[in-house]
Symmetry: C2
Subunit: 385 residues, 2 copies
């Protein structure tokens, strides 16, 4: 018997993931189907591909490629990579795109990556002033600016991965002040400072929060590559602030998973992977946590763990749909609570997701694409019916 | 031609490593010889073995084992693991130990590990008050208390690996106030706060600084298991404070490498290492940076990089020998500067150090013990003549 305080099942209206990486080629063929498997109705697909999606044509071709791998239950929406080649004309062109089924814009925004802070961000921006014309055009067309909110680490100002987000917030405030009608989303906030900054902004500024940042702190990625992502998870107090703003159901905070698949060989480089190369032995593990395939159950499990299950719908659906002005998303997803003593195998997160690769992956090596998910081997508290 | 400002060779008198982990069994047989290879005359060997060294007899037996692997050029000194079984009598017994060759105490101190903060610290302490009798006895015998200066992470106080050392310093001050004549060493300091705290203490309080903490910051271990150690490297400003106190030649700051060998399979766990076990896929990488085999050249290279080469002797030898009252260490080690354009193979740090294991290592698996050093594949600026 479901009650408000401890329901045994929940129906969620049209969950949407407003920040996801699905890569290209064979990796995309593995992970795109996981968007639907993870309970999502729509996914906002990030443009940090190789090369990055700096034009409308590139972005549409990419979305065409991705749609080969998904059913009509899922709508994929694109965003452009902020780059010097982006013109007013290109913004107008993006604003005129239409999804063949929904009639919605197929490209809804522009994503800004500060240079060098995360995966494939080498072409990222160094100064926002150069893009004021682009932002002005975006504001006219009601396009969304998605901000990766970190500044590069810097010895002079003592900025490290731990303080890179807080140091970025001045840019959020100045952009919002200059373009008050431009919809801006601060992506994957990890700090109390970011939550407070977004709250202080007006109705045109929103914020995504990943499920993994609702669980992890710095200790959890210290020596644990599978939990390493950018921005890095911060302190207990930061986590508390993220949980609190979701538990409050604040209308401008919603799910963007930042789910980021990396081959396990990039995530857990082994001595054998390195072979005898000296230089390679110091190489790092790729930044990213993979959650797409378990996304809605994971969000339910986490919110349940800190008493915010009643805000699941606002976190994974209502708030984003309101901010992004999504109409006509009608798929409903039902979750069932898992009896934690049941050993229900459907609730155990797989050790990895694999694809037998048909083509050569790299360096002449054939093999499986293997992605290890967050909560690998753990039991979810909720599963999709 | 050697000049004071840019010498081509340096002679160092009796370098000593006042904090090193050499493990047991086959790993010890691989790494103990590296103490001499790394240019050290004496090494202070940590007691977090399995089981930990909580008695004089255990510690002496351990030193006997280790000495099988080293020449008479190197003296190994022991320290006991602070533990409820440690009594006044055991302290007196430790104080009465003598090294057969040097006549010096063979066990010079007691090491305190807060519970659960690093490798094999599960038996560490939770409160210092319980050990006041032991500290009093140590003070009487002029034994040294070696402190791993971190408190466990704690949600209530928002303490994480990034703030665990600063939060510990109150204990240093209270111990020093209560036992002003007890020689205390704050081990492997990583923060400006720790440097300031030690400076404020009297002449009985000293501090070790590792070479890797003279180079790394938090960004360097984010996703890089080979650079992950406890305490974790902190910020640019913290690194600056560590470099500054060494460059000043402050008499109470000296080398303790905290060199910690881990099999590469523990340091870089791979998908294949994990096999199909679900639980194991979330396991972490062991904490520790391995520097023993390249220690003196590494220290020279680092101090040279920040203009403190003239303090090499105070860092690696003079200050520790004064504080620990080491007499009669006479071995001199000469370093030569490496021409950075020379591709001198002797200056390239090996990809790994390996030992063909004769016995079964674990889980029925036979194989090589392989340890990847810090600076693996990089060129040192100085080499031992």
């Amino acid at each position: 018997m479901a009650t408000k305080s401890s329901p045994q099942s929940i129906e969620v209206h049209a969950p949407v993931d407003m920040h996801v990486h699905v890569r290209q080629g064979e990796m995309a063929s593995l992970v795109v189907p996981h968007v639907e498997q993870g309970g999502m109705t729509l996914a906002y697909v990030m443009p940090n591909t190789v090369p990055p999606l700096t034009s409308v044509d590139q972005c549409l071709a990419y979305l065409d490629e991705l749609e080969k791998y998904t059913s009509s239950n899922v709508e994929l929406v694109g965003t452009l990579y902020l780059h010097p080649s982006l013109t007013r004309e290109e913004i107008a062109k993006a604003a005129a795109t239409k999804h063949p089924r929904s009639g919605r814009r197929r490209i809804m925004g522009v994503k800004s990556y500060p240079r060098g802070v995360t995966t494939n961000s080498e072409g990222g921006i160094e100064s926002y002033e150069a893009y004021y014309e682009v932002f002005d055009e975006m504001q006219k067309h009601d396009m969304v600016l998605n901000l990766h909110g970190e500044v590069p680490s810097n010895e002079e100002n003592n900025i490290t991965v731990m303080t890179a987000e807080a140091a970025f917030l001045q840019h959020l405030h100045s952009l919002h002040a200059r373009f008050p009608n431009l919809r801006i989303v601060l992506e994957h906030a990890t700090t109390e400072a970011a939550v407070e900054a977004v709250k202080k902004c007006g109705e045109t500024v929103a914020c995504t929060i990943t499920p993994h940042h609702l669980e992890l702190i710095v200790d959890d990625w210290a020596g644990k590559p599978l939990h390493f992502c950018k921005p890095v998870a911060k302190t207990y107090n930061d986590r508390k602030a993220l949980r609190k703003v979701i538990a409050e159901g604040h209308a401008r905070f919603f799910l963007g998973s930042d789910s980021a698949p990396h081959p396990v060989t990039s995530k857990l480089p082994s001595a054998s992977t390195h072979g005898s190369s000296h230089a390679a032995l110091n190489c790092g593990c790729a930044a990213g946590v993979y959650t797409s395939a378990i996304l809605l159950p994971l969000c339910a499990s986490l919110l349940d763990s800190f008493g915010a299950l009643d805000r699941l719908s606002s976190y994974v659906s209502d708030n984003a749909r309101r901010f992004y002005k999504f109409d006509g998303l009608n798929r409903k997803v039902t979750l069932h609570k898992v009896d934690s003593s049941s050993q229900d195998q459907r609730a155990i997160v797989p050790g990895s997701y694999t694809l037998d690769a048909h083509a050569q992956i790299k360096d002449g090596e054939k093999g499986k694409i293997q992605v290890v998910p967050f909560w690998s081997g753990k039991q979810l508290g909720w599963i999709i019916a």
